[in-house]
């Protein structure tokens, strides 16, 4: 197949042809092509459809600012919607499809919208589709939604891997055009650590698109030489295909390196992309400039593109946008395009210049006039030029370049809400206001539009950034033409002249917006959607602003701009997540007995990041309840063991430890004897329960505090706050030892007998009574800690050993307990037993409950100050009908008691106004043979014995229950003291 628009030259390698498909049709391009350049080479101008009117669209640009030529790249799970053909490197086997069409790209049935465009003006949808009311979700919206959007996701899991990394440097240079290369060279030669990043797959920026030279070389050759020198410097990191997406606080930049997007499938072990967080002292922003279009009637047809893009396609890719080309310009740059194309043998039908004093050329005709309309259903065929004398001349052309001047690429200077300032010479915004800290802008991004200016600006910026002294070294000679431009935004009287080509916002829409009072630039944007396309208005905003300014009788800077926001170009969500997906979303914390539990076939449950054994199914048990009931009964009947390592442990040491704990807990700890444990309740300063647990006193100046699993971190943080910020002179030190000790609860009437086989010392009831604790040894000398505490309500111990011995101890307990049929139990059985005993956990300490609610109001000592004590005395927290924790029992013992159900008076209405409380936790009690629950109800302590109604309309439960004591089992606590 011939590439009918292919020219000689350029930076493509014709020795390496590449096959690719667009909309099912096969084409050939070359190494070094983009999808857009290869399609243009093959004479394909039509590449997409616009968002609203489904107008035919071709390329507008040759870079990442492209709003039109968006394709669905690749297929299957790797399908990528909205991919810019202009930045997609061609690879062999590339497959792309056009998008946002109904039917084929050529015959898009949705193009009917264009016929009705007069009815579908800016904001029309705010004025209609309101009747009948029910039709919005059912009729109107489904149609609108189906029509909306551009490309499609495959809805298959993204098969590729993404990575993240950190980089640090003295100087980050963003953009590797002449300014960026010169900045990197200057900095690199000084020995500074430099990162040079460019979104393109080749360094050089505009130098690759231009014909003029630097020194004695062509620009692209000079660029290649500069890159070679930079590559030889060990202190310079060159990052090609790397888009800096945002400037964040304190010199932190986000950058995405596209490692594998230029190949069909990432190489084995390679990520698709990497998110780099670059920490830099200084930054030179050398992001170049973007040419802007001119608004005229029907300026959106395929073939109409930025003049600079036509030049890029010719010079860099060896592609003529068409055989017959014209340029519409308001500045000298348009003439440069024509000259370059002419030199490559492409016919220039005319350069249409709005300026009467435009330069003349021997090589092509220069017309003083304006392009006023175009024709061509699927691509440009004719353009009407209105000459200065009012006559119309029709040009027979397939491509038209628009050169409206250049906008410095100030995007990233605005990421910290800096506002650009107006430069009248360029008729453009240039960096201004407060730039991100440490950022210096150079080259075209700073309004220095010549190559010489860019080289000079780059060198100066690097020297300023690094504080380099001495004379500026001699820079190579380069083009230094002044900008010669007459501001010209739109052709008088045009209406359907496109400003935002993707979103179909025309001059007419901007005028309507103004007419309807949407006159702030933000209102304009939001009402018309101007600049909200995937290019964030890079090619569209200025035209809209200019028209708004004229309508309002203001200047463009008075109208102001909307704010550019990160990311600089759209960024895959996958790379922002990196490897945090699937099982790796969060790290897993495993307890020391995890391997052992897995060997027993335990079912694990996520508790925060911990994995805990939930129950241990035995053969023949088909329902989890069977396992849990067995574990509970076996523990209460003989002995069970449970891994409680996940509970937080905080070592508290120092002379003032007891005083410190007196501040932390609402109840007193000063008088706790050495060798004893006490239950403690911590309040937040607002008087609400923060956490509960125990503190054991191992020595006069040494306590061990335990917290719930969920609160291990917050409690530790809180204790450090109290220690460092409130009582900085207390002699007390804290350290979290949660990971240092493996801890097991051994519970049940035979727990002592079991432990006596392991522990080296006397643990009889007299020697080691309820609430005793001690440093001990086990197994003939291994250091351990023993606590006689009970969550289950049985005679119970918690035994702790250094984590490394955790697995061994679990196995030892199982071995020693074999004669008692020791039963491992999981978190479910643990929960059942604590509910049977009426102990609160996270469901009860839910962040809104006070000590009073928990039935521990009297624990809040008034004899001493503690965190939360003052505010816990507020009236609202001590109301007569305050919620109190009680037990719930179904009247019909076969009825369920679901957690989350609400309590109502037995014979009152069932509604929110008559709500009496709610069930916090519930389970089936195998010991009692019926469901039980813990609940908070109003004035609960005075309602024991009351019959109430328990309703859960959400789950269809409505049962009669009785309010009982929360202590279902052994209310006197005889077992745990046995």
């Amino acid at each position: 197949m011939t590439q009918k628009n292919r020219l000689d030259g350029g930076q493509i390698d014709t020795a390496i042809p590449m096959n690719f498909k667009f909309d099912g049709k096969s084409y050939i391009g070359y190494q070094g092509d983009t999808l857009a350049s290869a399609l243009l080479a093959n004479g394909v101008r039509l590449m997409g459809r616009s968002f609203k009117y489904h107008r035919p669209r071709g390329v507008l640009s040759a870079g990442s600012e492209e709003p039109n030529a968006l394709v669905q790249l690749r297929s299957g799970a790797r399908q990528e919607p909205n991919t810019r053909a202009t930045t997609t490197e061609l690879f062999d086997g590339l497959v792309a499809k056009s998008q946002n069409r109904l039917g084929s790209l050529r015959f898009d049935a949705m193009a009917i919208n264009d016929r009705f465009s007069n009815f579908l003006t800016a904001g029309f949808y705010y004025k209609t589709f309101m009747w009948p009311k029910a039709f919005w979700e059912k009729v109107y919206e489904p149609i609108i939604r189906k029509a909306a959007g551009l490309g499609s996701l495959s809805l298959l899991d993204d098969p590729d891997v993404y990575d993240k990394g950190f980089l640090h440097c003295d100087l980050l240079v963003i953009g590797a055009g002449p300014a960026g290369l010169m900045a990197a060279l200057t900095a690199g030669r000084s020995g500074a650590n430099v990162i040079l990043a460019d979104e393109d797959f080749t360094f050089g920026g505009r130098l690759n698109s231009e014909t003029f030279g630097i020194g004695d070389d062509a620009g692209a050759v000079w660029a290649a030489g500069a890159v070679a020198e930079l590559a030889s410097l060990p202190n310079v990191r060159l990052m090609v295909r790397t888009t800096v997406i945002g400037a964040f606080d304190h010199g932190i930049y986000g950058a995405v390196e596209r490692v594998s997007d230029h190949v069909a499938v990432p190489d084995a072990g390679k990520p698709r992309q990497i998110l780099w967080r670059i920490y830099t002292q200084r930054t030179v922003l050398a992001a170049g400039a973007i040419e802007r279009p001119i608004a005229f009637e029907n300026n959106d047809r395929p073939g109409i593109m930025l003049g600079s893009a036509i030049r890029t396609y010719a010079n860099r890719y060896g592609v003529a946008a068409d055989k017959r080309i014209a340029i519409f310009t308001n500045n000298d740059d348009g003439h440069r395009t024509a000259a370059d194309l002419h030199a490559k043998g492409v016919k220039i039908a005319a350069v249409v210049d709005v300026r009467a004093d435009a330069p003349r050329s021997m090589d092509f005709e220069v017309l003083h006039g304006q392009v006023v309309d175009t024709k061509g259903r699927l691509g440009l065929t004719f353009a009407d030029v209105k000459l200065a004398d009012g006559t119309i001349r029709t040009l027979d052309i397939g491509a038209l370049g628009m050169s409206g001047g250049w906008n410095p690429n100030v995007h990233m200077t605005c990421h910290q809400r800096g506002r650009p300032t107006w430069n009248a010479d360029l008729a453009a915004f240039v960096p201004g206001g407060t730039l991100p800290d440490g950022m210096i802008v150079a080259g075209a991004a700073n309004g220095d539009m010549s190559t010489a200016g860019a080289l000079r600006g780059g060198a100066q910026a690097a020297r300023a950034a690094l504080g380099l002294k001495g004379r500026l070294p001699k820079l190579p000679a380069a083009e230094d033409a002044p900008v010669n431009l007459t501001p010209f935004w739109y052709v008088e009287g045009c209406s359907r002249a496109w400003l935002d080509q993707q979103n179909d916002v025309t001059v007419k829409d901007v005028k309507l917006s103004h007419q309807e009072g949407f006159r702030s630039v933000e209102h304009l944007k939001r009402y018309t959607t101007l600049g909200m396309a995937t290019d964030q208005g890079k090619t569209s905003n200025m035209g809209g602003l200019a028209i708004m300014a004229e309508l309002a009788g203001k200047t463009i800077p008075q109208v102001g701009t909307t704010i550019f926001r990160p990311p600089y170009t759209p960024t895959a969500i996958g790379v922002l997540a990196g490897r945090h997906r699937g099982q790796d979303f969060h790290p897993k914390r495993l307890t020391p007995s995890h391997t052992w539990a897995a060997e027993q076939g335990a079912v694990f449950v996520e508790v925060g990041n911990w994995m805990r054994a939930q129950w241990f199914p035995k053969e023949g048990e088909s329902h989890w309840r069977e396992s849990v009931d067995r574990e509970v009964l076996a523990t209460r009947g003989s002995v069970g063991v449970c891994d409680v390592t996940t509970l937080g442990k905080i070592d508290v040491q120092g002379v003032d430890s007891a005083d410190f704990l007196n501040k932390i807990y609402c109840n007193g700890f000063a008088k706790l004897a050495v060798g004893k444990v006490r239950y403690g309740l911590m309040l937040r300063e607002d008087g609400i329960a923060l956490d509960d647990g125990t503190a054991g006193r191992l020595a006069e100046d040494h306590f061990v505090v335990t917290t719930t699993t969920a609160n291990a971190l917050p409690v530790y943080r809180h204790m450090e706050f109290v220690r460092q910020c409130l009582f900085p002179d207390m002699d007390v030190q804290l350290i979290s030892t949660t990971e240092a000790w493996a801890q097991y609860a051994v519970a049940g009437p035979n727990s002592r007998k079991l432990l006596e086989k392991i522990v080296d010392q006397d643990i009889s009831n007299d020697a080691f009574p309820f609430m005793a604790c001690a440093n001990i040894t086990i197994c003939g000398g291994l250091r351990a800690r023993l606590f006689r505490i009970s969550f289950s309500g049985e005679l119970a111990f918690e035994i702790a050993v250094p984590t490394a011995y955790g697995d061994a101890l679990m196995r030892k307990i199982m071995e020693a307990g074999a004669e008692f049929d020791v039963t491992p139990y999981g978190t479910e059985a643990l929960g059942v037993m604590r509910m049977e005993k009426g102990h609160a956990t996270g469901n009860e300490l839910n962040g809104t409950t006070s000590a009073l609610n928990l039935g521990m109001g009297r624990m809040v000592s008034t004899a001493k100050d503690s965190i939360g004590s003052v505010l816990s005395r507020r009236d609202g927290m001590n109301a007569a009908d305050a919620l109190m924790q009680v037990g719930i029992k179904p009247l019909d013992l076969g009825d369920p008691v679901p957690a989350g159900a609400h309590l109502m008076n037995a014979d009152g209405p069932v509604d929110a106004a008559h709500d009496q409380g709610y069930v916090t936790s519930a389970c089936y009690s195998p010991n009692l043979g019926h469901a039980i629950g813990l609940a908070f109800i109003k004035d609960g302590s005075n309602r024991i014995g009351e019959k109430m109604r328990l309703v859960s309309p959400l789950t269809g439960v409505d049962v009669a229950v009785e309010i009982v004591s929360a202590h279902f089992i052994d209310p006197k606590g005889e077992r745990l003291r046995a």
Binding site: D249, H250, G251, I252, Y279, Q416, T434, D437, D656, D659, E685, D686, L713, R717, E720, F721, Q724, C725, L726, F727, P728, D729, M730, D865, S869, V870, L871, R873, R874
Partner: protein, 95 residues
């Protein structure tokens, strides 16, 4: 953001946990007659300035120091980082 820890040098702010206004150091006297009102104001009312703000950060993934960071809430610029313990002592807090 980067917080220049007085002991450890510049650290990424993601190593820290934020609490709020450093006035939280100035816990009122629980025995004062106006204690309830004082604690209400201490616990709930904030200047919440648009500008310089002294605030508490905890080096959770680090050395577990509480720091007082002086940071501009309009620009996020940080002008000073101190050990909260020193600040607390400076405000007369002790045991």
């Amino acid at each position: 953001m980067i917080i220049d820890h007085p002991l450890l040098g510049p650290r990424d702010s993601s190593e820290f946990t934020y609490l709020g206004d450093a006035k939280l150091i100035e816990r009122p006297d629980p025995d004062a007659e106006t204690a309830t009102r004082d604690f209400y104001e201490y616990a709930y009312l904030r200047d919440n300035p648009a500008g310089w703000h002294e605030e508490l950060w905890f080096h959770e993934a680090g050395d577990r120091s509480w720091l007082v960071v002086t940071r501009n809430t309009l620009t996020h610029e940080i002008s000073k980082v101190e050990m909260a313990r020193d600040v607390a002592r400076g405000k007369g807090r002790s045991k």
